[in-house]
């Protein structure tokens, strides 16, 4: 049995190589090996969405992804959502006050950014965000922020 596997990722736009045990979760690789602790573990079972990251642009719960299976793929975490500045949805979350305890927020930010990237409409946005549990806000300000960001994106000059 091999005790280490090599995993190469395009992590937040940067090519990174990791040597990890074969059973390592992508979540642990990100938090412990890459030092990106913005991605949170809320349940470890793919239920709460706090560990959501983008894998080749698709939101996934990183607690259910084996790090080795992400080899050669592109991963974006909350730290890499905006390029240098905050992503428009992150800015909208701040402006709307869609942040309370903040523990679900990184996952919410990642899912919301993905929803915007794929041009999801109102009901679709709600459905996509239904995979990210939040116990504090009641979701109103999160959804309002997503709408704001979507409008901002639409209005932005090309």
């Amino acid at each position: 049995m091999v005790d280490r596997v090599t995993v190469t990722l395009i992590l937040n736009g940067e090519r990174r190589r990791f040597e990890v045990p074969p059973g390592r979760r992508l979540l642990d690789l990100l938090r412990d090996d890459a030092g990106l602790t913005g991605t949170k573990e809320g349940c470890g079972a793919g239920e709460c969405g706090a560990c959501t990251v983008l894998l080749d642009g698709v939101p996934v719960t990183s607690c259910l992804v084996l790090a080795a299976s992400a080899d050669g793929r592109e991963v974006v975490t909350v730290e890499g959502l905006g390029s240098g500045a905050l992503h428009p949805f992150q800015e909208a979350l701040v402006a709307r006050g869609g942040v309370q305890c903040g523990f679900c927020t990184p996952g919410v930010a990642v899912t919301g950014a993905a929803a915007l990237a794929r041009g999801a409409t109102g009901a679709e946005r709600v459905r996509l965000l239904a995979g990210n549990l939040c116990r504090c806000t009641g979701y109103a300000k999160i959804l309002a922020a997503l709408d704001d960001a979507a409008e901002g994106t639409t209005d932005a000059p090309a």
């Binding site: 949170k40 942040v99 305890c101 930010a109």
Partner: protein, 800 residues
Amino acid sequence: MPRRDSGARRKAVRSDHGPRTTDHGPLGGCHERPDARAKVAGSTRYVADLALPGMLHAAAAVSPTAAARLVALDTAAARAVAGVVAVLTAADIPGANLVGVIFPDQPLLVADRVRMVGDRLAVVAARSPEAAWRAAALVEATLEPLPAVHDPVAALAAGAARVHDGGNLVKAFRVARGDTRRARADVVVEAVYHVGGQEHAYLEPQGCLAIPEGRTRITIVASCQCPFYVQQAVARVLGLPLAAVRVEQAPTGGGFGGKEDYPSEPAACAAVLAFATGRPVRFVLPRELDMQGSTKRHAMVIRHRWGASRDGRLRFAEVDTVLDAGAYAGISTVVGERANVSAIGPYHVPNVLVTTRVAYTDNLFGGAFRGFGAPQVTWAAEATIDRLARAVGLDPLEFRRRNVLDDRRRRTCTGQLLPRPVLARACLDRAAELAGWDEFHARERAAGPEREGLGIGLALYGCNLHHGGQHLDRSSAVVIVQADGSVVVRVGLTEIGQGNLTACQTIAAQALGVDPAVVQVWQPDTTTVADSGPTVASRGAHASGMAILDAVRRLRARLDPVAAELLGCRPDQVVLANGRAAIAGEPGRSVEVAAVAAEMAARRIEAAATGWYRSRPRRFDAESGLGAPYESYAVACHVAKVHVDAELGLIRVAEVAAAHDVGRVIHRGALEGQIEGGVVQGVGWGTTERLALERGRLANPSFTDYLIPTAADAPKVTIAVLEGAPSGGPFGAKGIGEPSLIPAAAAVRNAVVAALGVEIDTLPLTPPTVVAALGDAHPFAWVAEEENEDARSAAAPASR
């Protein structure tokens, strides 16, 4: 001998309006939350994000059964796991093996008897979390089953299995006013309500990091609401003085009461392991264990007998409540105390008899949860109010109008006189208006399987701590003006998502007349502020805000003379506003507050002050339940609109209109956030959040099986804010954390009952509960009847 404070006591509740400022300031506005940017960027460091060189990871071996004698504990296999550094049992605890907050009934590690599933038998420290949990699973306990009791009412009956040697009745409370037996009523309603518990489901699991300094002192960084509780618990298990235990609150990913009393347990475990190994120990609970072992909202059985006159006036109310405390008392008696005096709601009832008993069982133990006993009794009271309205043929809104407390009838069930204005009627009317009550009832509705209903929940919330806990109702603040004019604020109450940093920042900025952006409020640390009691009872903004105002007052005794000198006026003429010190009545002459700060620094004048707050003493007789349990009250009214599928029993809560008596808005965004979040958490409790307990074991300890509302389930929340009723709080503000949740589930229940036309007396309103309540009224009742018939005939021969 005349009492010196008797005059002050007679006065109505006064609010602290803070020092004089001329500008409108940030109060009531909606500036950016100070913690939002770091949180959206993912750079806020929670406990699980902290690591130190040499740090070990903790795990716990827990009991799989609810009631047993611990015969033997074999830790050899656990010790043999690679990476394991220590496996500790009860005998290894250096101080007291005790974590009970009020009653000394709960050990940190079981020494002889298991009383609930999840009781800790041993704790492990290892180099990785995986090794620690693998080792914990290998701890072998020989358990000899004991008789168990899981029903709180049965637990109080003669001959029930005893959970503790002293019997199962932890404590009893009552309120007795008038004479309910002799009261005359035209209609009498009797009902028994079974109100279920609730899991907090904060997104961040419980966790802490213990950092020892030899065996002399220790620092604990913890996800918690109450650092001072953690400090006391750790000091006790280590046998250290309080001053040798420093507890720093880590950014905390939600609490809702679940991080009031419980965090003392993981912290005590980590502390014991840290002392034993001499290394930092981090203990983060996996979700399943967190749900299985931590406290829950109390399940209650509530028996009602209420009477009204034909014209719809409440004549008497009898309430008999039994709380399921679970295996340990924890803070259940305090929850019982609040449930007891909250049982009648904001109604004028001349004859009241409330009895509230707290019972031990072998179930998971109950603890603090947003609302603290009030949501359960409110749910029952509002159900009975609707029943009575139907019995006398009145609209539920009109029935409430006839009985609600107002400026003329303003005595609560304990006989406490509310100060004017009493906003119960105003909240009721505003919520009904927002929900379109009259328009809804003017429309005809078809009686198909898709039903619609509107329901009201009305609650009276006692602000801050009950009389029984008033010794804890104090708080400390430190305000430091830096040489550059920026301001450091330290308070003893915690930010757990509810917005206490935002509230404290707003209050300090308002009082100092500066921009909120220059004020930094830092998380509490037990070495920087005095014991400020717990962050509970919606008291955060109130208690920390009042202490901040006191600190600012003391600070200005030194700041104002410096400003006066720079301005060439008397100190009492100095006003602070818009970031400047000015002369009252002469807005033309002013100097920046930052310049005053620089001058204080240059002259070596102390630019720091501490502040203190304590609630007013009040009189309450615990024996009769009469008097003033709370300093002030807040009213909350929710009106829910639901859609019910009468075939499947599925409920969709479409909208909740929420009207709240808040005293004064401190920060609009944070206030709305509390209301929206509280409503949705209350709706979840009332509809889908069922704790599936099987012989004391939680059968659904996951988010797949325990359903909290998602973005797709959350109702639209509309809000009406009513200001102006007195509070005793900073700038006249009242707490909002708990009132935002309390009436929500009751409103939903009443809406569903209105939609279906059958009573439902069990919470939550899961589809099976709704279908069962429909009984013969269910569209397919005949199918169930045939199935039952088949089952009966099939079972009959086998049973012989």
